[in-house]
């Protein structure tokens, strides 16, 4: 049982490259924290710093009330699940799980009980004598989990543990990890670049970009009120439509108090309605339908705005300038080439400053 607290944590490499630029956050006891961000944003580095696999060049990491900056990974009382599982290929499943306990001098009887319990939870009972190479990807993943839980550590660290699995298994394992974590209520930090994984797993979501935290909070809160255009386009799929707030759009928002300070407007694809009516205080866009994706339960419409569009500063995951995605329920909808009006209500509008670094209004 432990809190994990990061205080102004920094990582500067010898060449002067700053991978982590001062990060603060706290994960409460038993909480599930997810670090999400594009590749190269420093999330894995940060996790490895918590694990003790990377040195900390500034700030403090505190696990359970103890600053661990100078403490060896073995003595931090953490367990880590690696992306490639990192099982010991020459050891049986049983020995893979028992290894960490033997290193700590635990009696064989106690080891047997603990490994047996973990094997039961993870349904590995029939495979204890097998070598990792005889297991499927999902089974290896479970052994890696087992190796972490037998130790009963204060904190679990997960480094993209599901990215080597196929899509179906990934969803199943995601649910399993969450159930397991609830059951053991062990503080966890989980790194992923998959925003869907992040949304579904997290108690606290930390969105990172370029070695900095963009936003911290409850996943739904982040979805509903993204603090920057980066978060707006990174969280949610398909990404939020971002447009410069100019001329015609600006005149539509004339009555909105936020419009003065704002430079960029964002609307989520699911917040549009196709309609000929105008919502007072809202926004209406005239679109020409370019492409349609029907996935059964919903339909994605890709359209271009009829007015010429100048691009907003491009951020990862953002659409090409001028393209707007509309998401509507059901399988019916317009056809290609058709002209439609997409309307969004005032409470569905997200406004940001022109540099995209700040949300305007609530």
């Amino acid at each position: 049982m432990a809190n994990v607290t990061l205080r102004n944590v920094r990582k500067t490499y010898l060449g002067g490259f700053e991978a982590i630029k001062g990060i603060d956050f706290e994960v409460g006891d038993g909480q599930f924290c997810v670090l999400v961000g594009p590749s190269g944003c420093g999330k894995s580095t940060l996790l490895r710093m918590v694990a003790g696999l990377e040195t900390i060049t500034g700030g403090e990491i505190d696990i359970g009330g103890r600053v661990v900056n100078q403490i060896e990974p073995a003595d931090r009382d953490i367990a880590m699940v690696f992306q490639n599982y990192a099982l010991y290929p020459h050891m049986s499943v049983y020995n893979n799980m028992a290894y960490g306990l033997r290193n700590r001098g635990m009696a064989e009887g106690e080891i047997k009980t603990r490994v047996g319990e973990a094997a039961r939870i993870l349904e590995l009972g029939a495979m204890l004598e097998r070598k990792p190479r005889q297991l499927s990807g999902g089974q290896r993943q479970r052994v890696a989990m087992g190796r972490a839980i037998v130790r009963q550590p204060k904190v679990f660290l997960f480094d993209e543990p599901l990215s080597n699995l196929d899509a179906k298994l990934r969803i199943a394992m995601r649910v399993e990890i969450r159930k397991l974590q609830r059951r053991l209520s062990t503080t966890s930090i989980y790194v992923t670049h998959d925003q869907l994984e992040a949304m579904t797993l997290a108690d606290i979501l930390v969105v990172m970009n370029g070695g900095q935290v963009e936003q911290i909070g409850n996943p739904l809160e982040i979805y509903q009120k993204p603090a920057t255009t980066f978060v707006a386009s990174f969280i949610g799929a398909p990404p939020m439509n971002l447009m410069p707030l100019r001329s015609e759009l600006k005149s539509q928002l004339a009555g909105d108090a936020r419009a003065g300070e704002a430079g960029i407007i964002g609307i989520r694809p699911e917040d549009f309605v196709i309609s000929n009516q105008t919502v007072s205080g809202g926004v209406a866009l005239g679109l020409t339908v370019e492409a349609i994706e029907r996935v059964g339960a919903e339909t994605f419409i890709y359209g271009t705005r009829q007015q010429e569009m100048q691009g907003v500063a491009a951020t990862p995951g953002e659409l090409p300038p001028g393209e707007i995605i509309v998401r509507i329920p059901g399988a019916v909808g317009p056809s290609i080439g058709e002209r439609i009006r997409a309307v969004a209500a005032p409470d569905k509008l997200h406004l940001f400053t022109a540099d995209g670094r700040k949300r305007v209004g609530g």
Binding site: A51, G52, L53, E72, P73, A74, I78, A79, M80, F82, Q83, N84, A86, L87, Y88, P89, H90, Y99, G100, N103, R104, R133, R147, R151
Partner: protein, 293 residues
């Protein structure tokens, strides 16, 4: 699943195999069969007449006490050289595998001795330890040690062992280093988190995962000490003093080339060949079973 390739042209697969087959036949099967045939013959003193004598050469060979002595010498010599060159190379490789700034330079320096011909290496070591001139022999004598590999059998053995080990370390080092670098970093990190201290980590994780490399090197090193150390022994001690460093391969040369006993020497090389084939077969059969993967 292995994919088998079907050739449309029936001649092509044989043509592709031909160069390797020619080399093997010309440089191995032909001389080997010549040696076997020669081992049943006896030549007169002038090399003019050869006479078929059956197994007489072998009988004479196994009646020689010197032959048993050369076997014992070979066992001592090969065990020392293989054990030392493998363990020292492994030690160096684990050090070079650490993230040191000077690692590339260190690796290059480690590889150099491999580029030195065995006879040249032998001469180098001979001069360094030559009792009256050697730059390393003089300090040894200065410390009160009666260092004399020319007369003392143990000193001579130590010298050829050192020279042979020195020569082989670079080769073993290269392979061990490659083997170490192929162990996934995350496995090592996982064991560090699992509470294994460096020494325990080495013996429980790294060493077992390195076993395919170690096994390969063991086979290569055994062949090396049996055959390729000839040049070093010839240059350093010439098999002396009083046959103390005459290994089996050196005795083949000494008896055949210097002693003119071609039949006896051929019989020895046949015995040597059988021993090496047997050793390699044993290694493959028993040691490989314990190798991981």
């Amino acid at each position: 699943m292995e994919k088998s390739i079907v050739f449309n042209n029936r001649l092509l697969p044989y043509m592709l195999l031909l160069p390797q087959l020619v080399i093997t036949v010309v440089f191995f099967y032909w001389p080997a069969s010549q040696a076997i045939w020669q081992s049943f013959l006896r030549e007169d003193a002038f090399g003019l007449v050869s006479e078929f004598v059956g197994l007489e050469n072998y009988q004479a060979l196994f009646a020689q006490p010197e032959y048993y002595r050369s076997m014992l010498t070979t066992v001592i010599f090969s065990t020392l050289v293989a054990a030392l060159s493998l363990s020292i190379a492994l030690l160096f490789a684990t050090q070079a595998d650490k993230n040191l700034k000077a690692a590339p330079a260190y690796k290059t320096l480690m590889i150099w001795p491999y580029a030195v011909a065995p006879a040249v290496a032998g001469v180098l070591w001979f001069f360094m330890f030559q009792p009256s001139l050697g730059m390393l022999a003089r300090p040894l004598r200065g410390m009160g040690l009666d260092w004399n590999p020319l007369l003392n059998e143990n000193h001579a053995m130590m010298l050829v062992v050192m020279a042979s080990v020195w020569k082989q370390i670079s080769y073993n080092f290269l392979f061990f280093l490659a083997g170490l670098q192929s162990i996934p970093k995350s496995v090592i990190e996982a064991s560090a988190i699992d509470g294994a201290r460096p020494v325990r980590r080495f013996w429980t994780i790294i060493f077992p995962l390195l076993s395919p490399t170690t096994f390969f090197l063991l086979v290569v090193n055994v062949v090396y000490v049996f055959f390729d150390t000839f040049g070093i022994i010839d240059a350093v001690t010439g098999g002396g003093p009083a046959g103390a460093t005459t290994t089996m391969v050196y005795k083949v040369y000494a008896d055949g080339r210097l002693g003119g006993d071609l039949g006896g020497s051929a019989a020895q090389s046949v015995v040597l060949m059988v021993i090496v084939i047997a050793l390699t077969a044993i290694q493959f059969r028993y040691v490989e079973r314990k190798v991981q993967y």
